[in-house]
Symmetry: C2
Subunit: 206 residues, 2 copies
């Protein structure tokens, strides 16, 4: 299927161009023409692949999220042979913080997508679909931790998973605004995980 592969490859190249703009001057004022110029193709050619800015943004976001997923999977695989649920959870959450340039740019594309999505139901559908899936995966990890006796059973809930996801989202937003560094954000995340897993609480047998 060379034509289909080509089509996907061109769309990825255009997404890379969009990311370069996101990483420099931002996507807010960027037109389809600007992205075409950055990708080194004509506007007509770009429109062959994407009919609108929203369509392009959605494709780019999915492409970036796929790459981020892959990076996170690799970091989980690199942990140990059998990482604990807590280690898996921490690796995933850490991967969601803008600790390197790639994830930073991913977050910027995400921010451009976000401001459009709050006013567009079709775009919002993506978030409404993706976040609950992530939340379910995190809840599974919390339950696995509780089964191993590493987490209080009443904390193995969807609410706790959603608290972690929301926290990382807020921490990341303030990294992009230079309110704190990515390293400070990671320290705060670790504090949250330590409290969740009861590291600071006195042990009964202590």
């Amino acid at each position: 299927m060379p034509r289909k592969v080509d089509h996907e490859a061109r769309r990825q190249e255009i997404s890379e161009a969009l990311c370069r703009i996101a990483g420099t001057r931002g996507l807010e004022g960027a037109s389809l023409r600007d992205v075409a110029a950055e990708a080194g193709i004509s506007l007509g050619r770009l429109q062959h692949y994407f009919g609108s800015k929203d369509e392009m943004l959605l494709f780019a976001l999915r492409y970036i999220n796929r790459l981020a997923d892959q990076r996170i999977r690799e970091s989980v695989a690199a942990l140990t042979d059998e990482p604990s649920p807590r280690q898996v959870l921490r690796a995933c959450l850490t991967g969601m913080l803008p600790l390197d340039e790639k994830s930073r740019i991913g977050m910027m594309v995400g921010a451009a997508y976000y401001t459009r999505a709050i006013h567009d139901e079709d775009l919002r559908a993506e978030a409404k679909d993706g976040i609950p899936k992530l939340c379910a995966f995190f809840t599974d990890q919390l339950r696995a931790a509780a089964e191993r006796g590493e987490l209080a059973p009443d904390r193995a809930t969807e609410d706790e998973a959603m608290l972690l996801i929301s926290l990382v989202d807020g921490l990341s937003a303030y990294v992009l605004l230079d309110v704190h560094t990515a390293e400070q954000a990671l320290r705060l995340l670790d504090r949250q995980l330590a409290r969740l897993f009861g590291d600071e609480e006195p042990h009964a047998g202590g």
Copy 2:
């Protein structure tokens, strides 16, 4: 100073028009001309008050934040004669969630500002200034709670304050995306506060 007052009043009227656009179709594609039309004035007249979209957005954001501050102060004042630091903290954090239409629109203007600020140092300065002030105020409340014996002293830190601010920011973002409702976000915030204040931990003298 009637002229100065007029100037301020016109700028507020324009900000209100900008908020109406933020609350309906969003600010992302909105031009100065669009805002002028919504405010019922000419573009030239609007440009007499605001030289650029960023300038207008910054004024609107400060105006909205001032109104939000006022609402929060009123809700704190309405608590009891002498609210506890924890009650003050909860009232402030609750006021930062998009629980009503006004705060929801305020968040939308904030989101439009945010996507521009991550690529503009001057706009970022506002966030870099405002968040640490809020963080300092929250830290004071945590310290006051610790002094009253209502919070473990090692939790009366800037890190804990920043965790709460980041969490509310993330929770609010997911409300605007319809991932959860404002009421669910408030429940998650309360869970975080309960854990911070040690409500769930077994008491030594239990």
